[in-house]
């Protein structure tokens, strides 16, 4: 694979006209969200890539300085549409850290369950998107239908399908409704049954294996050095999971199995997501079983007049794409002084685009993006 691109870059030096540009995004069917790469190509092979980010930049970090502490909870889930809950939890955890409060155990478990459900939806979408990037739409539609089942549960619990605004400083908004747990169990059973079909359609498909094998290889050392996190890191062989290493919510009470694989290519990453999907279902079951009774929120007074003492904290949460981190600085006022957001996709979406895409064929760009689960909104913020 190296040899032709070497000659290609020689060609590009010698013959400028051999190179042409292809715009991959923002308005491109292979691109998830508004994001773009300007690809310089020779033939169908990429020789250079210019990332074109910022289409989704909304200035979150600035907007959060303008709003009350609790108002921001409505804002944060919008940073990542497919996996919104980690944002809420990370933001709330940071506030709780500054305030030095410990939330009730039941709230911790409910948070954990919503986080894991959110992870389910995100994985379903990610696996579907991977199929769609390779032209396989059937599992995508089936997964979207299954995702709707989880979203229904969210709607029942929080009143909203996508942006739940459920976690608040001091706990969660309300307790689980009656019958909700039973329904959740049913949905989990259903998803487990469906896994067989997903396997047949996607993960055991020889064509998918052929297409993804060896694509976008990241070694373990490289992944650690460049800040790759989440399933992508674990697919490279590093056993790092925020849920275990820096536990939050109810994870200290749970037995989280960290799945690692050697391999580090797109296929391993795809399988990693599938394995973690299964593990997530088990984890929700575990959390449901261990969930204690009790309050679901601390009484922090009138939340809209919440004042957070002067201080700073960094809280991170393992989202489906990796480490989501909120760095919150408070000056003791009604509004945050500064919120810094660490999205998990930046190293993959910008750095690895420049590392991987040259030498790659145009055929593989969408599949590569899907395999790294690049989520442009959290790059742009």
């Amino acid at each position: 694979m190296d040899a032709p691109s070497y000659t290609l870059s020689k060609i590009a030096e010698k013959d400028n006209l051999a190179v042409y540009d292809l715009f991959f995004g923002p308005n491109h069917p292979g691109m998830h969200g508004n994001f773009g790469y300007v690809l310089e190509m020779i033939g169908t092979e990429i020789v250079k890539v210019r990332p074109n980010a910022g289409h989704l930049h909304r200035g979150f970090e600035k907007l959060m300085e303008q709003k009350l502490w609790v108002q921001n909870i409505a804002l944060v889930p919008r940073i990542c549409v497919v996996d919104p809950d980690p944002n809420e939890v990370a933001y709330c955890t940071a506030i709780e850290k500054i305030m030095g409060v410990e939330i009730p155990d039941r709230a911790k478990f409910i948070r954990t369950i919503t986080l894991e459900m959110s992870r389910l939806t995100s994985f379903l979408m990610g696996m579907g998107a991977l199929g769609a990037a390779l032209g396989l739409y059937t599992p995508m539609y089936i997964m979207m239908a299954d995702r709707d089942l989880v979203l229904d549960l969210f709607e029942w619990l929080t009143g909203a399908r996508i942006y739940h605004i459920f976690n608040i400083p001091g706990g969660v908004r309300n307790d689980l409704p009656d019958g909700w747990v039973e329904r959740l169990n049913e949905v989990l059973d259903h998803l487990e049954r469906r896994l067989i079909e997903y396997d047949k359609l996607v993960f055991e498909n020889p064509i998918i294996h052929k297409r993804l094998k060896g694509l976008g290889y990241i070694s373990k050392d490289e992944a650690i050095k460049t800040g790759i996190t989440g399933p992508n890191l674990r697919a490279s062989g590093a056993a790092y999971d925020v849920r275990v290493d820096d536990p939050y919510a109810a994870y200290p009470y749970l037995d989280v199995k960290v799945i690692t694989q050697e391999g580090g290519d797109a296929l391993t990453r795809a399988v990693q997501v599938r394995l973690e999907f299964e593990e997530t279902i088990k984890l929700i079951r575990q959390a449901l079983k261990q969930m204690p009774e009790g309050d679901v929120r601390l009484n922090l007074g009138n939340l809209s007049m919440l004042k957070v003492p002067k201080g700073e904290a960094y809280a991170k949460v393992e989202s489906s794409k990796g480490e989501f981190g909120y760095y919150v600085v408070s000056d003791g006022g009604l509004k945050p002084y500064r919120v810094g957001v660490r999205g998990p996709s930046l190293p993959a979406g910008l750095l690895y685009a420049q590392k991987h895409l040259p030498k790659m064929k145009i055929d593989d760009v969408a599949a590569w993006m899907a395999s790294l689960a690049i989520c442009p909104p959290d790059i742009d913020k």
Partner: protein, 155 residues
């Protein structure tokens, strides 16, 4: 859009490029960078064409109304036929909007693209105002240490 609310049963499906499309769905907030691309995409669509603005953000900025990088009213820049409120709108609302749009097209009410042609200067002026600004809006001059950052503006 998902399989439960299958839009394809109305014969609606996503197309890959603006050339093949009838309806432009603007899903949510529009940052300046995106607006520029939306305009190009919109202008590349063959007539007749319609715009379905999706979410509160396109109506009045929604939750991002005070952001420095998102526009507040999409209809100032391109003609919008129909908007769906909500953030995010529920799938039922989107389906309803699509069906309403279909009815409007049949009855001839939806013809915003004609408006765009007639009031082209108005739209262009609005677009240029936000996209091609050369002086700082808040009146401060950029400090010297920011040289080289605003190359585009100097041209």
């Amino acid at each position: 859009m998902t399989s439960r609310w299958d839009v394809e049963r109305f014969g609606i499906g996503p197309m890959a490029t603006p050339r093949q499309a009838d309806v432009l769905l603007v899903t949510g907030y529009v940052s300046l960078k995106t607006l520029k691309r939306i305009i190009r995409t919109y202008e590349q669509m063959p007539e007749p064409k319609w715009v379905l603005a999706f979410g509160s953000c396109t109506v009045n900025g929604g939750i991002y109304w005070d952001s420095y990088n998102t526009i507040t009213n999409l209809a100032e820049y391109i003609p919008v036929d129909i908007t769906v409120s909500g953030c995010m709108p529920r799938p039922e609302a989107v389906m309803d909007a699509l069906q309403t749009l279909m009815k409007m097209i049949q009855s001839g009410e939806a013809g915003a693209y004609k408006k765009y042609k007639e009031n082209y200067e108005y739209y262009k002026a609005n677009q240029d105002r936000v996209l091609k600004k050369t002086v700082p809006i808040l009146g401060q001059t950029p400090k010297n240490d920011l040289e080289g950052k605003n190359e585009d503006a100097k041209e």
